[in-house]
Symmetry: none
Subunit: 200 residues, 4 copies
DNA sequence: GATGAATGAGACTTCATTCAT
DNA sequence: GATGAATGAAGTCTCATTCAT
């Protein structure tokens, strides 16, 4: 019962969410969720703090929306590549796609790594779901590519996921960014190792 | 938040310090650094809040000491196994050792994963140093075990580190805890894959 | 928060205004003025928030209008009964009328009780005026009914007003709602007590 | 992880709660709970905002403590007077005592009036309990003083409570404060009225 | 060595109000 | 007449840190 509200001109209607997404992505990835305030995100997005709450209801659910947004993009790409008939080529395409994704949105990787499996994270379930979908996709392709016992296959999928996430993040923050090939090779080495195990 | 605590000085644990370490380890791993207050840690340790400051000077340097404490233990073990003559056996022993460590201190894994490479983390340097030492050890053993170009070897070491960290954490929080063999196999598949690449 | 709304102008209720009145009455009575937001009132009324401002200019003046609306109804009734020749019958009719009013609009009673005489309430003057008119009416009838010194008469009128307001509210929220007779008796006991004092 | 904490000297240990009580009592009574911020109360008490939370945990529970504090004082006094053998004298003493209490702590009356029976007030239960104890005391004395049917007696007790609360508040804010006698007479008129009803 | 009452900066959130459409 | 996205002041609360004891 006080506001005067004079000042900066309101931004175009639907812009706010996008601007907040973009700003969050940058800030949160660099410094972590707790080190970035809503104030700061709003300022970086060029909107008022109230707009964050008008659009997302809370800081946490804004981050949840951000996480979901990124997960959707990556999953869609991976699903597309997973359909390729040649399993090895499919896996390679998926790994490349994941690296490209982290290249584009390095902050997501940071966010995912930090929050995933934190027992009491607010996004724990959301991130678990996402992780499960990714590893399920990997397992599915692995299954038709190498002949190994299911339990090993399961763990191998997780290992590939972990290796990709961490090395992709590492690569993305290295300047100049190293060439992709070697990274893909390193991750796919797991697959070739499994083949040998299957053969041996 | 001055981030002294470098060089991993082994803490000579007074009673209070030990209690604080134990309490921190549990709480911080479950909920993350920012979600746990000094008050809560002190209460869980059965000491007063002032004692934290008396012993460590700040929350951050207490966490730094905690991180250093764990790093010391793990590195010492890994260094020991790295000396084994058979490279493959050495690697296997190292991986097993890492899994055992995460089993004992699951919270460390969480802490490391969350904070590592966070661009502006307070412990960034400390954790980078630690990471560098671990991967250097892996590289060193890999080098005398498989014949692959240096760049690939470097990335492979990182990939193994990442895969181990994430799958070990995943295993540690699964109940009942799955058997270790499969996990070790999955991580070592990378090595066998590299051998094939070297041979091919 | 300028607190215009004086003089109890009877609102010519548009559809929106009526809906807002009905919604406000319920919500404000249950939870108090500060615990209910304009957003919530608008939602409950099925109109947009802007409509509140379009119709009333501010939250405060909407509440002022609401208060005036109720005051008008009650005062009109009381004035009518006050004209009866038999003082005791007039008083009884007025008390019954007040109880019926609180029955119909239990939230008004709550609102009045809460805000009345709050030294710095925004509606303090408005409510004081209203209170003064009510007690003046009671005094006027009392004066021609019992023979007591003016000061006592003044206070007695206030006491009757207070007793009616609080017990009526209490009755209105009791389920099932108790019979009216006893309440009226209790309030009128004051009058009979005064008669005795006058006689003694 | 930032504070420097220089400035005002810390107040003597156990003082804080008392200072906060005194400051709250004044401010809250004048302007109502929602119109007074914790900041303001702390400033008026000469302590920092954090001290409020250190001592009471929340604004609401501080108010709860304040309410309980006052209720204890008043109830103790009333219980004492209720024991007197002469019912009429007991009632008079109780009413006088209540008026004196409101004189000393006019803000309590305001607080009680505002919050009591607000359906969803945080202190609803607490205040209901308190009210129940007071009216029980009045009923008990009435019962041995006048011969009236129980239901009427119940309501009469409530009516006396309401009349006392509202007129005492009214008196306390009038300057110069009017003499007490007339108020006591007005409230006790109810009792005499009941006697007449019993006799008639 | 240890305590815990006190601090104050700063976090998240609410909400009355405005205004372009 | 009516809408709802946007605003920003102000509120409640948290918590790392200090210091007299």
């Amino acid at each position: 019962m006080t506001g005067e509200a004079v000042g900066r001109p309101r931004v175009r209607a639907t812009d706010s969410k996008e601007r907040l997404f973009a700003a969050s992505m940058t800030l949160l990835g660099h410094r972590g969720i707790n080190a970035v305030s809503v104030d700061e995100i709003a300022r970086a997005a060029g909107v008022s703090k109230g707009t964050v709450y008008y659009n997302f209801g809370s800081k946490d659910s804004m981050i949840g929306a951000l996480l979901a947004f990124g997960a959707d993009i990556l999953l869609e790409e991976l699903e597309q590549y997973a359909e390729q008939s040649d399993g090895l080529q499919a896996l390679e395409a998926m790994v490349v796609s994941a690296f490209r994704f982290v290249e584009r949105y390095p902050s997501y990787a940071q966010l995912w790594i930090s929050e995933q499996q934190r027992s009491e994270s607010l996004w724990g379930e959301q991130l678990s779901d996402f992780r499960e979908q990714i590893t399920a996709l990997i397992r599915q392709v692995l299954r038709r590519t190498v002949q190994v016992p299911e339990p090993l296959l399961q763990v191998a999928a997780s290992a590939m996921f972990g290796a990709t996430l961490l090395t992709a993040r590492e690569r993305a923050v290295t300047t100049p960014m190293p060439r992709l090939e070697v990274y893909v090779q390193a991750v796919l080495a797991t697959v070739h190792g499994l083949e040998r195990a299957a053969a041996g």
